[in-house]
Symmetry: C2
């Protein structure tokens, strides 16, 4: 039975959940950063996702890329499944800017999280929800 | 007309090429590391790939993940489209080990490349070609 990893859970807020996927906002004011997590127990690698759920996961990942690029006026979208720290499969979609805290380095392991204020959290979640709905 | 980015070209060796994709081995002895590059001029984002070529690209990316995990006895496969340094869309597939040079940090921007010896280069290319063929 799928159980969401507690570290990922602690560091993120729910945006949307259905039977197959969790879509979560990373709790970091420095970057507009979303996780997509297929709800499959024990899954760690993209190549072990079945084809139907892979397709669904990446339809969402690519939609999120478009939404984050537009809504957050990003220079570049970074998309990644890494999992060296937390092996439970999770796909990062991150809006990057030339002026952001660590550009052009990757965000993973770069500096400390800056927790979102409540209004900023609400605003980001709403922008992303609206963007996914309209896409 | 598509032209392969000269920095990516300089830092990698051809494995397979067809009308749609370049598959290249990164010239770094520290990691078994492959790039998949859709041959579309001006393309920078996954969400701007048309669906058919996205599907083909990720069929290859996921096969490579399986091959690298098996043939290089990897702990974890890291898959990413970042593009902060070179915006031309390229997907990284990297075999990671707990004993590798930068574990658990990401490979991007971590230390200096260690160029492959000619025999090691030949061996890796052959392993990957054979793995993709048998998959």
């Amino acid at each position: 039975m799928f159980q969401f990893n507690p570290t990922l859970e602690k560091d993120s807020h729910p945006i949307i959940e259905d039977d197959d996927l969790l879509i979560r906002l990373i709790d970091d004011a420095r970057f507009a950063w979303v996780l997509v997590v297929p709800k499959v127990a024990g899954l760690t690698e993209l190549h072990d996702l079945d084809n139907a759920l892979f397709d669904k996961t990446f339809r969402v990942v690519r939609r999120l890329g478009r939404v984050l690029k537009t809504e957050f006026a990003a220079e570049k979208i970074n998309t990644a499944a890494i999992g060296n720290m937390v092996s439970q499969l999770h796909v990062h979609v991150v809006a990057r800017h030339k002026e952001d805290a660590v550009w052009p380095r990757p965000v993973w392991g770069a500096g400390d999280m800056v927790r979102l204020s409540a209004p900023e959290k609400t605003k980001r979640i709403q922008l992303i929800k609206d963007g996914l709905r309209l896409d």
